[in-house]
Each structure stands twice: as structure tokens, then as C-alpha cells.
Symmetry: D2
Subunit: 373 residues, 4 copies
């Protein structure tokens, strides 16, 4: 691997000779070994329930954000605009999004929000084929109807203060039954501007898929302050291919990471390869050819999150304390005191903006081959 | 028309009356209980040694950066421009700076850099009165001459790879003797773009004052990328008054914090009050008057560094993981899950961008009184 | 007037002592003698015809843009989303906007777009009370129905290449008849990203009100590139009061200026006072008290358009050629060579970004009283 | 993993392959037919007279501004820092600049400022070889000494209020004699932040070379507000080759344009080709293939000045009034109403930011070939 990286970095160096990383709203995350990293938002609303835009705006927002897949998940039971949009056919919002996405490469997955009081609260069913059939009285029946269509179902905002005044996600017997029966497969650890340690623990304890969503009702640009550099929450899905089928497989296999601001939340086996693929050693050379043992690294962060790393290596730094920020979409130079002149070395960091369990941050490692002189 | 214009102008005046935090190059740090926090840079060069500008530019840079005090510390022994600037009188660069600062409130402290091979390496003598008298053959004699004038002397860039190829600061017998004899009082833990864990440990072990400096030779704006939001390194000095005398007292009493990028390095007793004064609870109210136990805080960071905080409180957050960034010169909203409705509470954090010893980050606490409804 | 301005400028100087003009998306235009300058957009679409958003988004866009009044003018005859939004009652989009604007001070005027082939093409009827009644077969009858309700009617985009492939606005007999019968009162000289010299000439020749509109279907932020500093087209209405009634009176009296980018289009009697109110002499002092006859002016442009001015004064400038740009929301210093020391003077300019007839730019004048020393 | 990384990096390379105009401080002007357009600043000061920086800073500023040639023109008679820099050899500032420029491609031309009371006032002699020989008592003798070395001499800031309180450039008998004797060859029409109509007229009437200079004493970045997008004044020189010799030939042949802010001042034969080379038709296509006669042009302005153009064509525009701004370093779309479908056409404009004589702006033309469909 080291040789390959060296080789590659040289060629990238050339490719970038007269270019530069640029900070745009287009979200960027690298693929990881064996999987494509797909940027997905599976929770959003339109005028077909209580949102404020036609599905075409959701498609355009997603394209501007460089997303791979979305699902329009209008409420089944909460038609705010029913006086004007009676919606006898609940498939209409999905159909409008599909039409708007025509000619683009955005994947639009059919979905809906089953909107009940707690328990079970709200849940999204995605990868369904006929939304009308999910509109039944009993909540459990709704889950069953969605599952019958091959739907993937996740619990929405289990911390929502509208239903949980203390904002603590808690599994109730009905949820336990749904999970036991294989009717509930994921949980939002991130929803809109909220994150929940307890929801993450529930995901880990119950083998649920970790989900992050925007739950947007208004405009992405306004709510997430896009012109100032903000971005929506997402689920990063590690899929064999860039297809709806592969995304569903990945969700069922729990291959996801939730994103909110600069925080990445996921199981160690998913999030560590992502971080390690995100931080590329763009250059590694001793600062003075003959004498010094100070190694200058250019770490390229070609992703849309800034990393905050706590050094756990046997080496410390000439230019930084042990806590280093690697800004999004930028090259950062770190000088490492290697004591001896090395040909290869490994740096290890605790990635503080990455969460694998409540208050737990994984160790990541960066293998470096010093550039030949 | 007169009346109309009058009204127009009045309303324009009103329209601009609101205040906002604004990100400028003017560095901002709050005072701490009992002390003024003074922004000082005690290491810089001009055409009078190997720098590239007249001292007046150093004064103007300092004013633009909102500094309280500087010292022009041209090398005694390294007159790069001697062919053109013979400098028979080594007080000239200080005098030129004093003249340039006339009419401003910038404090200009006389200084020089005693520039020797290792040991003892380079050192700055500041608060001296006649630089010529420090120009003697033997390095120890130079330290003595500076001390005789009441000078405060600190070891410069003990990690400099020009003198220490491994960049590891190390106390040699000559340094130990200088310290033992009371001739050396401080050490640069931060110099230009470098930071040293070992220098910090030497300061702590030997009761030396912690210093951070720019060591600028070219232009502050270019080297520290000021237009892009960068800033020079500094020593923050906690002084009884804003005066040269008080600064010297503070240096002798080791009341300093070194600044580089967003990192603050200092003894716990100095750095913790600074952080706690930096983060102001601008608002604290439960998000929903009757039911919820989610408390919305607006934390105002009216300083020029971004804080990276790891939550160690008994509460966790509705909107963040346990690692929270509080950007410089901005208000940040954090929602806290307090379980019960409280009237007062205390949040505690490990301040990761703050260093009190190698790899050690202090715990800071923020006391909150919930706004009465 | 001179004394008054002097007096006022002194007080404004104080009011601004520690503030600054700031460039935001909030559009700013000063009132003019005798009238309030109201920022109005009377042409926009929602999901109720062929737009992509609920009326609430139009309200929020208007509030963010600092508008005073809008009208939702969904097509009567072009219900793109009729399959989902059957709209038996054509007043619904207006009602939804009124509801969304509740609690704000935005004025929402009822309107609709009468959407016919050419002639007469499209027209907006605003200040109507029952949109349903305008939905009749014959276009002339529709104009009559709108007029019967007290509606104000303007011809939309007479240059639209969908109906006029050469984009030349041209009055056809039907339009002449509508005007003669008092059924058509205004004309869009600015629509979306287009401006028409011919439409302006038609307005002048036929005593029609000059209108500028966004005709927005998608999002203002995207179409007009708001994050990069762009803004929507507008009609500036000079009204006695900030009320719907006063706006209608002003429209009927043709007291309007159309805005597109930095261009202002209007009759000389409306646009000249606006420009003269926009450019405030913030300071006027000779640069050197005793000798020089160079007068330094600070011109404050507290409006959202940049002015391009061609000097026609008897004086020329020390710092500029005869063509001067006064950027939006900024202070610009111009030094004038007055030959003698004056106490008062008048500068005159041809305002090149202001259009009073095709290729005609009005002369504006700025009266200056030199600050007493 | 190797293969994955390979693909990742390749795709990153591709992602960055697209080009875009970007606004940097590097000044950009296109070559014109037959000549290279060289960006030159022939008036600047260092610590060797009354400036505040070492010549190396002037070199670095010039490189950052993308200049082709500079001349350090320290005052012969005004050694502000003589107490410290006695300067027995007046060639020293030039030599220091040459040394600093070593290894770069910046052309450094030897020069000096002959600094006398009016008449003749100040003048720069450039392309000299021994500055010491120009230091003589009689001003006329100084001009003769410079000419004897092959020097090119231009009158500095003939409007300077220090010598002309009314700031009106005026030829006095001594100047007339100098010109008649071939001792004075050019005149600053632009100096620092000033422009002079009268100086331009003197240049035209007396066949002098038009010069623009920064006359910088402090820092270019501060004085010309570079971080906010400002730039220094310049002389654009149209030279056969990029060499000192060719620059001198061009100056003697008066092939120059002076630049201040967005204004270009020069003789019509020099400035018109420059403007026409600056505005490139990047795309020209009818907006609708079959019907419309509206032609969409993308005008690419790959230069560092914004153009303000007044349309004098037989066509008018669909998207603009007759006054159009073409911002620096951007593509601007203008839609032209051509009445018929044309294969070629010519647009003509009065270039308002370009001055060929007091209050005179040249007509420029843009030839367009419509893209084949």
C-alpha cells in the first residue's frame, strides 16, 4: 500500500499542479475500500404533507448538495395542505420527485413518514412501492404493510421534545417488539439539528442501522445556512454500487455513518476507513535534506468536514500541540519530529469529531512513506 | 425636503445601531479577574538587523493587530544590512519604533536579540535601557549586562532546527547555570509557526515564564495569512495595569499564556480564568416554557480563538456530540438536556485547544443561571 | 437646504461614529421628498399555478429581501399542478400568503396573472378582491372583471420571446384599445432578467406605469444569486404612506421606478429625487486647511445599487476621471479641484445607471456645503 | 484498497480539471496585436530614501501583483533615514532590489527620483546606470546627467498639492525648455490615488509618454486595500519583447496606458486594442434554435479591470440597458436583439472607464461570429 500511495500521490501532485481544492456546497466524501460512499438524505417533506416546496425543489437542493440519493417522506397522517391538496393517491409526491429527477443521476427512493403518537412515535418507511397501502389504522399494521413491500423502516427523532420532553431516546416495549419482529431496522441518531447519545446506544445495543437526516420542511439553504458554509445532516451509505438496490443492501447490513456539522457518527468498522480515506498524505519530506529529523507532511482533506485529531503517536509535532484541526477541503501542513530519519512511519490519532459510542472517539492511523529525495 | 432628509438620516442612524460580533484582524481577549489581558509580541526584526522593514511598519502592524505592547529585538550580532546600515548605536531601532508609536497607545519596550551558537543559542533581552552595553564578547557577560539594566531575558526558539536538528528543546548545563544564577527568566514555547512540548516542560520544571512570539522578519500580513483570517503568535500577559512596568512585573511573576493559531498554552492558574472569561453565557432559557427539560444556551465567544471543548458534565447535549467547537467571535447555541427543570447548573469541559502541560488539557467550567421567564 | 444638510450630516457623523454600512441582502432605498419609497414585487408564482413553492416561501423571501409589498400572481389559465391542486377557488394562493404574512409588516396585495396568447399576451391584475371572477373566457372581459374590482392591470413581459421571437415590445390594436378604455394601466419594463427600451417608450408614450418584477417561479436565492450579492428586480413605489391604499394610489399616479441589477428606470421626476436622496454628502472638507483648493468629499451610498456617474460639473477631480462609480452600501471619497476655496458648491453628474428614456440618462446634482473648520 | 484509492485520486484529479476565472491579486492584462502587454510600476520608495521597507519587499509585492517590471526610484535629495543609512553610494537601493529579484523573472530597472522644488518639481529618471552621477546641484544638470546615461525621464505628480495647491498640472517655461531639449519624455497622468485631466492634455499636446505609478512608500497591500480586491496604479507598456530593452523602446515610442482602479488612460491607438483584446466572445448562440432573434453572448473579461460600456450599436439588449458593466475576471451574459438571424455582427460601445483625452471615451467594437449550431 505504501508504494501505491507514494506513486499515486506523485500523479495527483501533477494533476493538481495548477488547481486547488475549492470549498463549494457540493458535499464530498471519498469511497472506502470495497464500497462507494453515497451521500443520502432519507427524510424530507414537501407541500404534499407539511413542507413548503414542490418535490422538484428537493431534487434541485439534492443536486446542488451533490447527494446520491433522497427519499421524499411526506407524512401519511398529517396533510397540512389537505384543503388545497387532497391527495387521494399518496404516491404523488414520490412521482413528482421522480419526474423532477429525470435526466439527472439522482436516485429517488420511494418513502413515507408513518406519523403516530409515542409509542411508536414517527418512523420512515423507505424502499416501498405503494405508499397508499401503508395508510392503515393500527401503527403496527402500518409497519407490517411497509415491510410487506420490502420497506426499510427507521425510527425518527426518538428524542423529539414534542413527544419526549426530556429529549432522552428510550426504547419502549412496542419498539422492542417491532425490533424483535424484524419490523424496525434503523434509528435516527441525527435528525435536523439534533444528535442523541442515547439513540446511538440503542442502535448499538439492538443492531439497528444508524441514520442521519435533514427532516427539511422549508429550504435547505436557509435552515442549514448554506451560503455561510453550512450543510445538511446526511446518512453516508457504503454501497457496493451506486444503485437503489445497493443502498438498500447497505442499509440492511447497517453500513452507514450519520453526519451532522463536522461530526461523523458510526460503528468503528465503517467510520474508521472513511476517516482514513479522507486524509491523504499529499507530500512527506524532511524539511532539510541532510540534517534535520523534522518531517513536513501535507495532509489533504478533500472532504466536506473538518477533522479534529488528538495525537496518540510516539512522535510529537514541531508546528502543533497534540490537538490538530484539519480543515475541510484544504491542505494542512504538519511537521513531525521523528527523532531519526525514517523511510516510513505511522501516525495515530484519536478522531475527536468522530463518535463510535457515547463519548467514544476511535483511533485512526495514517501510514506515511517518506518521499524519495 | 429638509424634514424628509432629517427623518431619513435619523432612521439610517437607528438602522445601524444594532451591534454584532465581527471578525476583524483586531485580536480580542477578555480581561481576567484581577488583571488586564495584554496582547504582546516581544520578538521581531527590522532592517536594523536581518528584517525587511523599518520599525514604523512593525508599529503599524501591531496597531492593526490591536496589540498592547511590542519590542523590536534586532540581533546584536547579525547585522545583515551593515554595508548600508552600519549602526554604531544599537539603540536606534528601538528609538525609531518609539518615534513611530508617538501619538498612539502602543507600548514599545526596548529589546534586543543576543544571538549566539548553542549553548546558549539565541535569547531576547527586553526591558533594557541601553542596547549597546549588551554587545559584549562572552555570552554570559551579555546576559549579565542585560540583567544589570533590569532586563527580562527569555530563551528563543530552543527547538530551532538550525541549532537543534531534531527540534527537541533540551536544557544544557549552560542554561541550567543561567537559570540558577537568575540570568534567564523565560522560554519561547511558541516561536513563529512552531510549538514545543519540551520547551513547555522546561518552563514548568524550571519556573520559567512561558513566551510566544512572531519572530517576524518579513510582513505579518503575508507570513500569517492575515487576509484569510490568520494571526500572529503572541504572549498574553496578565498585568495589573496597562503599562510597561506592569507588564514587566507580570513577566517576572510568570503571568502569561502563549498563543499560536487557536491554541493557548499556559499554566492552569492563568489559562483557566482566561478561557472562562472568554465564554460568556449570553442567554439560557428552556426551549419550551412548560414541558421540556432542554435548555438552550447561547455561548458568546468574543475572542479571536475558536475553542474545542469536550463535555465532561453530568448532562449531555441535544444538538451536539460531546466535542463542541465554539468559533471565534461568534455566538454558538448549545442545547443541554438537564433532565429536570433547573434554575442553575454548571457545565464542565476539557478545553482541548488549551495546553497546560504536554498532552494535558485543563477542565474549565461554565456556571449558568437560567434566565427568569 | 444647505444648512439643513450640514446640520444633519454632523449628527449623522456622530451616529455613525462606531458603525459601518454593511452589505446584506436587505434591500435599502431612501425615502424621497414627500413620499415613502416602498420596495414592491407584484409578479410571482407558487404551486398554485406553475411555481415550485408554497406562498409562505414567497413571504419569507420578501421579508429577507426587506420588501414592503408583494402580490402572489398565479396564472388563472395555467395550473401546472392541477392534477394534485385542483384549485376550485382561485383566491387560495393569496389567502395562504396572507396567512403566512400574519404577524409581519409585509403588505400582501391580491393579484393574478391573466395568461393569454398575444394579443393581449399576459397581464397581471393586482388590488383585486375576488380572483375567481377574473376567470372568464374573453380576455377583454377578464380585464373588465379585474377593473370592476378596482384592479390595477399591467402588461407582463411584452418582450417575451415565447410570444415575440424578436423580443421587441410592440403595441397592437388590442393593447391600444385596452389603454384607451382605461383597462390597462402599466407595463413591465423589467421582467425577471430582461429590460426593454421599447416597453419603456410605450410606457412614456401612453402614460403607463413603469413596472419591474421578478416573475419568480423557483427560488429568489438561486435565480438571482443572492449569496453572491445579487438581488431580484423590483418596482420602487413612491407612496404617501406605507399602506396598500397608498401603493395603489401611487401606481395609478405612475409614481414608480423599476430596478434591475444596478439599473433604475423611471420618469425623470421620480428617479432624480431618488438618486439625489441616495447619495449623501457625509463629509466635505478641504484636504489642507490653509493652502489647497482640493476638497475631499465622502459620498455615502446607503442604497443597494451602485451608481455610475459621469461628471458634468465645472470642476474636475483629483482622484477620478470623469466617470465615477459609487458602490452600493459604501462610503466613497472623491476629491474635487475647486480652483478657489468655496463655502458651497454644486456637483452635477449624468447618472449612467439610471434610464429615463431609451439611451437617456438624467442629470443629477449634489449640493455641498463645506464643513466649517 | 490500492485500487480504490487509485480511482479516488483519479476522480479527484478529474473533479478539479475544470477551469474557472478566479479573482486573485495577480494582475492580468492580455497582449495586443504585435506587442506584449507588460505591467510596470516605475515609481516606488524604500528605506534608502523616505520609504519604510527594504527593496526586497518591493520585489515580493511586485511578484505577488504579477508585475513584469519595477524601478526603485528613491529620492536623490530626500534621505529621510540618513542618520542611519548614510548612503554614500546611491546605487545601493537598486542593487538590493536586483539581488532580491535574483531567480525570479521580474525585470528591475535602475532609477531615481530627482526631487526639486517647482519648477521643475519631481521627476523620475529610469534606465540609468549610475545614480550617483545624477546627484548634481542644478536641476537641469541632473536631467542632462540622466539623459547622458540613456535615461528615460518623466515628470512626477505634476498635480501634487504640496507644490500645486490647486492640483492643476501646468507647464511652466522650464518644463517647456526641458521638453524642447529632449530632456523630459513622459508625465505621470496617474500617481498614487490621483488622476489629472490636465496632465493627460499636456502629454497629448507635447508628445509625452503617459505614465501611471504607485509612488508607494508604505505597503502596497495596505495602501491599495489588496485583500478587499484593490490594486496599485500601473503603467501598461506595449513592448515587442519581455525585456528591459523593449520596455525602454516602448516608453520612448509612447506605447503605454496608465491604470488607476478600473480606469485605463491612454492614446486611442494603444488603449482600444487593449480593450478589444480584453473582452473575448466566449460563446454566441441564438437562445432558441428555430424562432428567436435573441442572441446570447458570453463575454469573458479575463482582465483585472471592470469595463463600463455604453452601447452604440444598431442593436439593443434583451437583458441590459445601454450601459453595461463587465466585471473583472468574470463571464457576463448579454442577450442582443438582432431583429434577424445573423451569422456575424458587430457590437460597438463607448468605453466609459477608458479615457483618451479629458472627458473623452473611445468607441470600441466587438466582432461576433455566431456559433454554428
Amino acid at each position: 500500500m505504501k508504494i501505491t500511495i507514494l506513486f499515486l500521490l506523485l500523479s495527483v501532485g501533477i494533476a493538481h499542479a495548477h488547481t486547488a481544492l475549492s470549498l463549494t456546497r457540493k458535499l464530498q466524501f471519498p469511497d472506502v475500500p470495497g464500497y462507494k460512499t453515497l451521500k443520502c438524505d432519507f427524510h424530507m417533506h414537501t407541500v404534499f404533507s407539511d413542507g413548503n416546496v414542490w418535490p422538484s425543489i428537493r431534487v434541485e437542493e439534492a443536486l446542488r448538495d451533490n447527494l446520491d440519493a433522497i427519499s421524499i417522506t411526506d407524512h401519511l397522517e398529517k396533510l397540512k395542505h389537505a384543503a388545497d391538496i387532497p391527495m387521494p393517491d399518496r404516491n404523488r409526491s414520490h412521482e413528482a420527485a421522480v419526474k423532477a429527477a429525470d435526466g439527472t443521476n439522482l436516485i429517488v427512493v420511494q418513502g413515507t413518514e408513518i406519523t403516530r403518537s409515542m409509542p411508536p412515535g414517527h418512523a420512515n418507511a423507505i424502499f416501498i412501492s405503494d405508499t397508499n397501502k401503508v395508510l392503515v389504522d393500527d401503527p403496527i399494521d402500518a409497519y407490517r404493510a411497509a415491510n410487506k413491500q420490502g420497506g426499510f423502516i427507521f425510527w425518527n427523532h426518538p428524542t423529539w421534545i414534542g413527544q419526549k420532553p426530556n429529549a432522552i431516546a428510550e426504547l419502549m416495549p412496542m419498539h422492542e417488539q417491532l425490533i424483535a419482529d424484524g419490523l424496525l431496522h434503523g434509528i435516527e441518531v441525527v435528525n435536523e439539528d439534533t444528535y442523541s447519545d442515547e439513540a446511538l446506544q440503542i442502535a448499538l445495543d439492538n443492531n439497528l442501522t444508524i441514520i442521519g437526516t435533514s427532516d427539511i420542511h422549508g429550504l435547505i439553504d436557509w435552515q442549514y445556512n448554506v451560503p455561510a458554509g453550512g450543510h445538511r445532516p446526511l446518512t453516508l451509505v457504503f454501497a457496493k454500487k451506486r444503485s437503489a438496490k445497493s443502498i438498500k443492501d447497505a442499509l440492511e447490513d447497517r453500513r452507514t455513518v450519520a453526519l451532522i456539522d463536522d461530526s461523523l457518527i458510526g460503528r468503528e468498522e465503517h467510520v474508521v476507513p472513511l476517516v482514513e480515506a479522507s486524509l491523504i498524505v499529499h507530500k512527506a519530506a524532511y524539511v532539510d535534506k541532510n540534517n534535520s529529523t523534522v518531517l513536513a507532511l501535507i495532509l489533504r482533506n478533500a472532504t466536506s468536514v473538518s477533522y479534529t485529531l488528538e495525537n496518540t503517536s510516539p512522535y510529537n509535532f514541531y508546528t502543533h500541540t497534540d490537538v490538530v484541526t484539519i480543515p475541510a477541503m484544504k491542505d494542512t501542513t504538519i511537521q513531525v519530529k521523528t527523532i531519526e530519519r525514517l523511510k516510513e512511519l505511522e501516525l495515530t490519532f484519536r478522531a475527536l469529531n468522530v463518535v463510535t459510542a457515547p463519548n467514544q472517539h476511535p483511533e485512526i492511523s495514517i501510514s506515511i512513506t517518506v518521499d524519495s529525495e
